[in-house]
């Protein structure tokens, strides 16, 4: 057995890596391949080390999906070339490490937009496929992988394969939502959405309570390409589930004023200073978050047809770099689940329980999903999805979330692995019926266990 860690001036030591929630950090060797060959070499070496490797993008998964204790973590942001843009048919071929931010910068001026964007543009294409991310347009456009024509995958056996949904449906749909465990995605071909402007035309309305909110969303979601509701989970009694709905679409050219029309496709996201590195614990309590929620609910300017910058509509938090620091050293947990249509009573029960528990959550989001995609571990399915952030230090949180898991699983719902940092392993099979197929496929393509992650170890994926 080796001795204690070497003095700082010798061999590069493993560094602590954590997810966006900053809980459960573990140490791994961080490697940053600059070419496909380097990525292949790193994976080969990791396979021999016995503790494997996992690809990591911009580290926006909240839990331990892009961590690999004692092994290697491949920082894919070094592979960030856009290879080809077909501006006529709306296709882009790019490396997996390219961020959606960069794609927007490059593609918007050409009149194209990413097919799906989550609440942050700082995710990579590889991460978007691995987590099979969804956005505010899921009820119309499905999840990200639906728009992927092909991907280049470096599997655990050392092969680089061109995988398409037509030629290799198994491997493709295991990789879509497969949390990086079927191989290292090197590049992808993605279909784009044509837009005329970089502005959004948005309708904003308030809902007085959860039933009002669900009724409004169900009644006319289909009229909007993008739809989402911010929900106040601290409001109780008659106001339980009060919310602000924002829904809209890309603004057509004629919606713009004369000045804006001169440069309709300009992409100018603003950025605020980051919060300080050291933030005291316990800043976010029932009281402070309750006050914030009250303010947010009241300040919402209702109305229709208002123009908003794309970044304001899609990525409000990207304006504050490292916003995850506001939770302090203890970090935070994001809980996101989906419950099928017809089980609204379970959703009401969960919202009431979260409110009764007093979870200081100021970033809760409710949305309706459309049809799911075939990804074996893909999260979205038709139904209601709720996502909320909670400080990890909150007493009793672990037990509360376990109970909510039961409620979710009992009605055939599931939680989102890209957000997860605490699910019980036995829950997973109940939530993802194709888990056994996924395990079997991994064993086939990666017989020596070259690919693994903390998430995979924790949940026995």
């Amino acid at each position: 057995m080796a001795v204690l860690p070497p003095a700082p001036d010798t061999a590069p030591a493993p560094t602590p890596v954590s997810g966006w929630g900053r809980t459960a950090p573990t140490a791994a060797r961080l490697l940053r391949p600059a070419s496909y060959e380097e990525a292949a070499a790193a994976l080969r070496e990791a396979a021999h080390s016995g503790r494997g490797a996992i690809a990591r993008g911009l580290g926006r998964a909240y839990g331990d999906a892009a961590q690999n204790a004692g092994g290697a973590v491949l920082d894919m942001t070094g592979l960030d070339r856009i290879h080809e843009i077909d501006a006529v048919n709306g296709l882009v071929v790019c490396d997996a490490g390219v961020s959606l931010h960069k794609l927007m910068q490059v593609l918007l001026p050409l009149g194209w937009f990413v097919p799906v964007t989550p609440g942050t543009r700082y995710v990579t294409v590889g991460g978007a496929i691995s987590a099979d991310i969804h956005g505010k347009n899921h009820h119309v456009s499905g999840s990200f992988s639906r728009h992927v024509r092909a991907l280049e995958l470096l599997t655990g056996d050392g092969e680089t394969r061109l995988v398409t949904p037509q030629d290799e449906p198994e491997l493709f749909w295991a990789t879509a939502g497969g949390m990086g465990l079927t191989g290292v995605i090197l590049a992808a071909t993605v279909e784009l959405l044509p837009v005329r402007t970089s502005l959004m035309r948005v309708d904003t309305e308030r809902a007085a309570d959860l039933d009002d909110l669900m009724a409004r969303l169900a009644a006319n979601d289909h009229r909007y390409r993008y739809s989402v509701a911010w929900i106040d989970l601290l409001a109780r009694g008659a106001r339980t589930g009060r919310a602000v709905l924002t829904r809209g679409d890309h603004a057509p050219l004629d919606a713009l004023g004369a000045a804006a029309r001169r440069d309709p496709l300009a992409f100018r996201p603003g950025r605020l200073p980051a919060p300080p590195r050291m933030i005291p614990e316990g800043l976010l309590t029932r009281r402070t978050v309750g006050a914030f929620n009250e303010f947010w609910y009241r300040k919402a300017r209702t109305g229709s047809g208002r123009l908003q910058r794309l970044s304001t509509f899609f990525h409000p938090l990207d304006g504050v770099p490292d916003w995850n620091r506001i939770y302090g050293r203890g970090g935070f947990v994001q809980y996101q689940f989906v419950i099928g249509y017809g089980h609204e009573e379970a959703l009401r029960r969960i919202v009431r329980r979260i409110g009764a528990h007093g979870c200081p959550s100021f970033l809760a989001v409710l949305k309706r999903f459309g049809d799911g995609d075939p990804g074996w571990l893909s999260f979205p399915m038709p139904g209601w999805t709720l996502a909320l952030d909670i400080p990890a230090a909150m007493p009793g949180l672990g037990a509360l979330l376990d109970e909510l898991d039961e409620e979710v699983a009992a009605v055939g719902g599931r939680v989102y692995l890209a957000k997860d940092s605490r699910l019980r392993p036995d829950m997973l099979a109940r939530m993802y019926p194709r888990l056994d197929d996924f395990r079997e496929l991994r064993a086939r393509y990666d017989p020596h266990g070259a690919l693994t992650s903390d998430l995979a170890r924790r949940l026995a994926l």
Partner: protein
């Protein structure tokens, strides 16, 4: 792997019959722990403890381990780690000795030091290195307030815990940034078999209270835990007390 709340899935308990250790194991099994290794000298009590944990739903193995034989630690504990990752190691073995008798029997006094300190150093080093290779895990070391300042009534035990406590803090610093978390736990007087029949000190606590504090410490990734928490300011004051005064305290 530990979850976001520091709850381990696998536990290695060094001192497999320790009441505090087993109380902690029961608490952790109620959360996420599914595999437990109880390391201790083979005995019916050790087997019984394993049986009890199995009844709670955890796969439990016993491991023949003797704190007084540091030469064997690497091999014995190495086998445990070879089985798979250990998320949390709880170093809970220790003996109180009998201060009055041990003052007359230097060999017996030395055994207290060898069990609590030397045995602890060796076992903690072996486990710390293994955790470092894993790149994750917590090493929880049971120290004692008795180590904070030596008292007339139990300075043999106290000095052994002082040594272990200092060692564990240093190990925690050595492993900082390696994904490994070392936590020192300093309980006051705990009502257990070990302290049965002794005069209770003020602010006495229970094994379950220590277990609860360990669980909370794992969640917060704390480095030093006092049980009860109020002992921290009390001991800070006692540390500063002049010797002539301290000596006269009925402690």
């Amino acid at each position: 792997m530990k979850d976001a709340f520091g709850a381990p899935q696998t536990l290695l308990l060094l001192g497999g019959t320790s009441e505090i250790g087993l109380a902690t194991a029961r608490r952790l099994i109620a959360r996420r722990t599914r595999r437990v290794y109880l390391a201790g000298r083979p005995s019916p009590a050790l087997e019984q403890a394993a049986q009890d944990l199995r009844a709670l739903g955890a796969e439990t193995m016993t491991v023949a381990f003797d704190a007084l034989e540091p030469d064997t630690h690497e091999e014995v504990l190495g086998k445990v780690f070879a089985d798979g990752d250990i998320d949390t190691v709880l170093l809970a073995f220790g003996v109180l000795g009998d201060q009055a008798r041990d003052e007359q029997d230097p060999a017996a006094a030395a055994r207290v030091a060898q069990t609590n300190y030397t045995g602890g150093v060796s076992a903690a080093l072996v486990c710390g290195t293994a955790l470092q290779h894993q790149g994750h895990g917590s090493l929880v070391v049971l120290s004692s307030v008795a180590g904070e300042r030596a008292r007339r009534s139990n300075f043999i035990y106290g000095s052994s815990k002082a040594g272990l406590d200092a060692f564990a803090q240093g190990l925690g610093d050595a492993l900082h940034g390696c994904g490994v978390h070392v936590m020192v736990v300093r309980p006051g007087f705990v009502r257990t078999r070990m302290t049965e029949g002794r005069r209770e000190a003020p602010m006495a606590t229970t094994a379950d209270a220590v277990a609860e504090a360990v669980e909370a410490g794992l969640r917060r990734r704390t480095e030093v835990v006092w049980v009860p928490a109020a002992l921290r300011p009390v001991m800070a004051a006692l540390r500063l007390m002049p010797r002539p005064l301290f000596r006269r305290l009925p402690l």
